[in-house]
Amino acid sequence: MNYSQNELMIAAAARELHGARVAFVGVGLPNIVCNLAQRSHAPNLELVYEAGVFGAKPARLPLSIGDPTIVTGAASVMGMPDLFQYYLQRGLIDVGFLGAAQIDKFGNINTTVIGDYKKPKVRLPGSGGAAEIAVLCGKILVITRLGKRAFPERVDFITSPGHLDGGDARKNLNVRGRGPEAVITDLCILRFAEDTREMTVTSLHPNVTRDAVQANIGWAVRFADQVETTAPPNAEELRLIREELDPQRLYSR
């Protein structure tokens, strides 16, 4: 069966939500990923949007994380103070699903600036809710396309902390959530080593070589002892992506 790299990435990311009860849905790719999970293997997955929605049942792919379709038919809709305080800060969210303009060796995410904060080369949108999602969700999953600029050894600016300098750095700061667990890209899946917390390739997508991965990462990346091959999207996942979620092919071409 034919599929694009983006379709594979989206389907693989959705499978990472296996067993999750409540997911905080970030802007962009995470949106289609979480909606795919809810429509395929995780019908009881509760979608939480920072816009103030718990238990969304979107009738279409939300065009943004504040789309009216996440409101109609939801279990509860509230002001943002309640969402951030009583759901996120309360510790009710298992998984936060984020995108990233830049992510580094230890899973720190930059969505603020490329270059110096005061005189940026590229000004990015900023944190949104990501800075707090990164510290308050039980764990973090990240989806982003691989690329040398997107995967530097150190990000220019830590918007949303990952494992900081690695090792016990995060634990030592008393951060509540466990931090990034996996990064799903268009070429491979990376996880964080138990001891060093360094990002490590654990699964290569079909027909992707180690060299191709390394060529798109800004440091000498480690590979796990046993590198798996990512399972391709199945027919139902492809149908959901193509017919229901992204008929205009904005995310999945």
Binding site: A51, G79, P81, Q89, L124, S127, G128, T159, L173, N174
Partner: protein, 298 residues
């Protein structure tokens, strides 16, 4: 709208147009541009297209914000030009996360000297913005970040409906509309529909903003286009995508402002010019079941 913006928004003011994704008052933003207000400090969690337009028009001196993107599309190009190249003028930034901005509005509305949020640990944001500070709990060793209150001079809030006194009801995403209203010295409410006071009083749990704090009520159907109003119209997503192209060059952006802002007298003229497009945005019906408050007379 003309009179409300003329009388209540002054050059140099701190102004908040809130509304998370829905109910973004483009009608007010355009009127601010038309009246050539200057040196405004503009506050908003998500400075969206309305702010990109105001920045491009030279209205804005400083931005207080947490996410300056084109939601679901990408970057705000006029915002980027202002920050990266000081065009058309330098733009001062005061940056938080969403939770930080939410806390600032709560503190502003509640007249608290600060608001605690469990965020920013491990982030570079407190280094970029020294107004994000840390304090010690008096009940143990815990430290927590705090943000200062935000008290705009003016809040402009779009809503589905209000009565003529200003009692205002919103449904769907309510964002920080309530907090922004109570935080501000002056409040302009812009509504899709003016309704009789009896409609509001028949469902008081839905009233987020009381007449007590409202200085002007303006009726502007489709006043939030191209954002949306739950139950009234959908987001004009095509426009959000088009904006990315329009805004990439100052010249095309200025031409757009000439045609759609300076070139129309008011929102009614804009809506008339946009009619065919607006009509396609009407959603199907999905009514809530009515509830009984009970009559308690004797």
């Amino acid at each position: 709208m003309h009179a409300a913006i003329r009388d209540l928004v002054r050059d140099g003011d701190t102004v908040a147009l809130e509304g998370f994704t829905q109910l973004i008052c483009f009608a007010a933003a355009h009127e601010i541009i038309r009246q050539r207000k200057r040196d405004l400090t503009l506050c908003r969690l998500t400075p969206d297209l309305a702010y990109d337009q105001m920045i491009a028009a030279g209205v804005c001196k400083k931005l207080v914000f947490s996410y300056a993107g084109n939601p679901g599309v990408g970057s705000l190009q006029a915002f980027r030009r202002a920050v990266e190249k000081n065009e058309p003028r330098a733009l001062e930034l005061e940056e938080y996360s969403h939770f930080g901005m939410v806390g600032r509005y709560i503190a502003g509305a509640a007249r608290l000297p600060f608001y605690p949020v469990n965020s920013y640990v491990g982030s570079d944001l407190p280094r970029a913005n020294p107004r994000i500070r840390q304090i010690q709990s008096p009940y143990g060793d815990e430290k927590i970040y705090v943000v200062p209150p935000l008290n705009p001079d003016v809040a402009i809030l779009h809503a589905q409906r209000a009565d003529k006194n200003g009692n205002t009801q919103i449904w769907g995403l309510t964002g920080v509309q309530k907090e922004a209203a109570f935080a501000s010295q002056r409040v302009i409410v812009v509504v899709e529909e003016l309704v009789d006071e009896s409609v509001i009083r028949a469902d008081p749990n839905r009233t987020l903003i009381p007449d007590l704090i409202v200085d002007a009520v303006v009726v502007e159907p489709f006043g939030a286009h191209p954002s949306y109003a739950q139950g009234y119209y959908d987001r004009d997503n095509a426009f959000y995508v088009e904006w990315d192209t329009i805004a990439r060059e100052a010249a095309t952006l200025d031409a757009w402002l000439d045609e759609w802002v300076y070139g129309v007298e008011n929102r009614a003229a804009y809506a008339a010019k946009m009619r065919a497009r607006l009509e396609k945005l009407k959603p199907g019906d999905a009514f809530a079941e009515p509830i009984n408050y009970g009559e308690y007379k004797a």
